[in-house]
Amino acid sequence: MGTIVEFKNVTKIFSSAYGTTKALDDVNLQINEGDIYGVIGMSGAGKSTLIRCINLLEKPTSGEVITDGDDLMTLSERQLREKRKHIGMIFQHFNLLMQKNVVDNVAFPLTAAGVPRKEARAKATELLEVVGLKEKVKSYPASLSGGQMQRVAIARALAQDPKILLCDEATSALDPETTASILNLLQKINREYNITIIIITHAMSVVRKVCSHVAILSDGKIVETGLVNEVFDNPKTEEGRLLISKAEESERREKEQKGV
């Protein structure tokens, strides 16, 4: 299977009145079709910036981002919007439309693109069945739990028939059980629809559970990439060792405290 996302020497510099931050520093990355690719790193390492470059919500200062065959930096605004229609994205805080009911939230990417409402709703209803929310079709997001809202967001992303699904801390606001069920759902989507999934997370356990590959980001630089088992069991760099041992240590302690 081919490469679906490729970063070539991507650098992103934010400049503000307070100075400049190099959020991404000469990042090279290759993600293959069908992967569940995890990106981990400390807070501020540049994870969100990296994932937002994949659909060019954030424009790199220099370098190339090749997503699904196109160098995004060369696309016109219109072409870029067309491209984004096939890249789903889910977020930590779900970002649902609070004034629309569940089915209209899922149908939204379609109706906004001009698909007739009836057709869009039919597809949305099907997808809500896929994510296990058939009985919530008419509910409003405010009445749902976090896990349910994330399922709605996933169904909404699926409505776009994406080839790639970007997840920025998608389980960080959820409890461990709900996290597990959302991760199962992501795995199912990856298998059944052959959607490449890119997951940004603080939680090593998330990477261990679902990812095939992982990249470690530290201070805007990719310090390590590879198969999850290889990287986790045998980190080659100091940053990797530190991050993995520290994080797993604290996760273990957290679990013990909760008496799990």
Binding site: L80, R81, R84, I87, G88, F91, H93, N95, L97, Q99
Partner: protein
């Protein structure tokens, strides 16, 4: 005292006040919504930041908002006359009322739109939705409760302005209150018209707020 004539005059006054308020609100929103949308989207944190457009509109909006309404009304007399043929009476008063309402409404629309969760806009952008559709299908829809509350406030404020215009022959209930209460010392007529003004504001406030709350899907 309470002759048929006076009663008719008061009924006509109510009609004129409502006409001035409703039309000024309507025209105010016709221009105020685009103004608010541009202010909100060109803001530094907006959808398409544009320092220059924002600064110019922000400045003009502030200027018009700082001019006391009565002064604005007088300053606009030539403009009003050019537009409707005369500068007094309820129809003519719609012109300065609208001019005063536009920046006021624009600000309220701006602040409503600024309430939209940035994450939601980000999600819409990630779906490949154009900025125009993000405004019309996301921002204006997600903030409809706040916009509705704004309409209620605008209505009350414009109604108050219309009464002020009465002091210089603008027609409506304010006109009656001044002519009878102030110039002829008929306090009872003045009190009745003031009570009517209060009632009108109260009714619209209550109805508007109730509609706003009813259409809100966030509380369930």
């Amino acid at each position: 005292m309470w002759s048929q004539e006076v009663i008719n005059m008061i009924i006509q006054g109510i009609g004129e006040t409502l006409k001035m308020t409703v039309f000024s609100c309507l025209f105010g929103y016709l221009f105020g919504i685009p103004l608010g949308v541009i202010l909100s989207t060109t803001d530094v944190n907006g959808l398409t930041p544009n320092k220059y457009v924002y600064k110019v509109l922000d400045f003009i909006t502030n200027i018009v908002r700082s001019v006391p309404f009565l002064i604005l009304l007088i300053l606009l007399i030539p403009f009003t006359r050019a537009l409707v043929g005369k500068s007094y009476g309820s129809t003519a008063t719609i012109v300065p009322l609208t001019v005063a309402a536009i920046p006021f409404i624009g600000r309220m629309v701006e602040s409503s739109l600024n309430e939209v969760d940035r994450g939601v806009i980000e999600a819409a952008r990630s779906m490949g939705i154009s900025n125009f559709k993000i405004i019309t299908r996301v921002m204006l829809v997600e903030t409809r409760v706040s916009l509705m509350t704004g309409i209620t406030i605008a209505f009350g404020t414009i109604l108050g302005y219309s009464a002020m215009a009465g002091t210089v022959g603008g027609g409506g209930l304010g006109d009656i209150a001044v002519r009878y209460g102030y110039y002829r010392y008929q306090t009872d007529i003045m009190i009745v018209t003031v009570v009517l003004l209060i009632l009108l504001v109260q009714i619209f406030q209550t109805v508007g707020m109730r509609i706003a709350a009813k259409t809100d899907r966030r509380i369930k």
